[in-house]
Amino acid sequence: MPTRILWAFFRRDFTIHTSYRLGFAIDLLGVFFSAATFYFVAKMVGPSAMPLLKNYGGDYFAFVLIGIAFSTYQNVGLNSFAQSLRQEQFINTLEPLLLTPVTLPQFLLGSSLWDFLYATAQVGFYLALGMVVFGLRLAEANVGPAGAVLVLTLIAFMGLGVLAAAFIMRFKRGNPVTWLVVTASELLGGVYFPVEILPGWLKSLSRFVPMTHALTGLRKCLLMGAGWGEVLPQLTALALFALAAWPLGLWGFSAALKRARADGSLGHY
């Protein structure tokens, strides 16, 4: 994939995003207040949560900070393509973009590249803030397997994001993919509490939510220093999600694009 095209998208979005300075500052403040809120929630929960969190190091603040920080990737993966598409439709730039010799994967990846890098910066800020201000300890973190979990998480969510964009292309508003995945992740993905406390049938359902595997893998690696072998089930599950989501996403988006070209709704919003 030509890097010049990806660079063009990145530079465009970087320039546009940083021109809204107040929005940038508010995003950083949002991270601070979110981390601070859960710091005090963790203080309230205190050692009572220890038995439930024994698989994750026993500290609720570390547990939840990783949950909220890395769920940023879920939001970006699911929303970035769809939001970019809708924005391009809204400002009438989708048709000019589709008149350039840019392939569908280049368009999809390029238009969300900035969002992913920005999300990475936000996650980094979450972790740095947690360590410097709130005493988060990641001394035992095993970065290699954590990176692999993260990459597979991103790939899986991006695939679902392409499918979500297909719904936006077709129906303009109303995105059942994002709604379903976000709702399921909040309840079953273990962002705020460990999935172990769920009733048996919900716990079984949580296996079908990519976030569950992503956060379990990341927490094991970052908080317990787990190695490759210990996160192999999570890596396998995420790879399977990615393998299922991408073909489905690309098929859905191509079909929606074809339909929009047929009924003249390409630039409609």
């Binding site: 030509p2 095209i5 063009a8 465009r12 546009i16 000019p96 589709l98 010799p101 070209r261 009924d263």
Partner: protein, 253 residues
Amino acid sequence: MDLVVSHAFKQFPSSAGPKKILKDISFRVTAGEVVCLLGPNGSGKTTLLKTIATLLSPDGGEVLLDGKSVHSDTLRTRRLLGFASSEEHSFYGRLTVWGNLRFYAQLHALSPARWKARYDELKNVLDLPAPETPFRQLSAGQKQKLLLARAVLHDPPVLILDEPSQHLDPAFLARFRTLATEEWGERRKKIVLISTHHLEDALKISDRWLVISEGRLRFDGSVSAVKRADPAFAVDSFFQKLTAPEEGGPRAD
């Protein structure tokens, strides 16, 4: 190189059933030809141009560029074709003139050196506003010039321009006509298809007119030939006759 539209049909869904927008449109334009596409509002001009530019797929018939369907290899088509829509706001308001055009130049794979040279050229030819001006601060006419610049940025052999003269001041309009006819048509041998509903403008741009009304091609030919045949020729009444409701209107050549 030639552009062939062959028996093109297009319809859109509507609450009252499918609405036929293009009805069996056929014509051919060859390299170096500058052709005006005319028709009343809602006649199907933009639909036809968007179909040629691959933004819409035809429901019947085909569009061939140098013998190959424009819709079967859209990446090839987009390299060969420049399209200026009539939507003047289709740029990024937070980017400058330079930033907007550079973005599209990169998507068209222009090297940095080629882009720089191309920008300098277009800046003079199209009288572009200062490069550091944010798009949101441009006047309607300046935005129109940017639309033209984007269409010709990659120097394509085919130019499809949808109402390019709107918002342009008279001085630049005259310059644009010269650019389209002498530079792009005669000298560079491009295929140039320009839609407009300004008859006087069309007379100055091209002798070959395509007139469509209610989705049908009502006229494809030389206006001067019609003038020669009819000493009482008046462009307004000629156009009105061509675009009259189907039952009483004249047929296309």
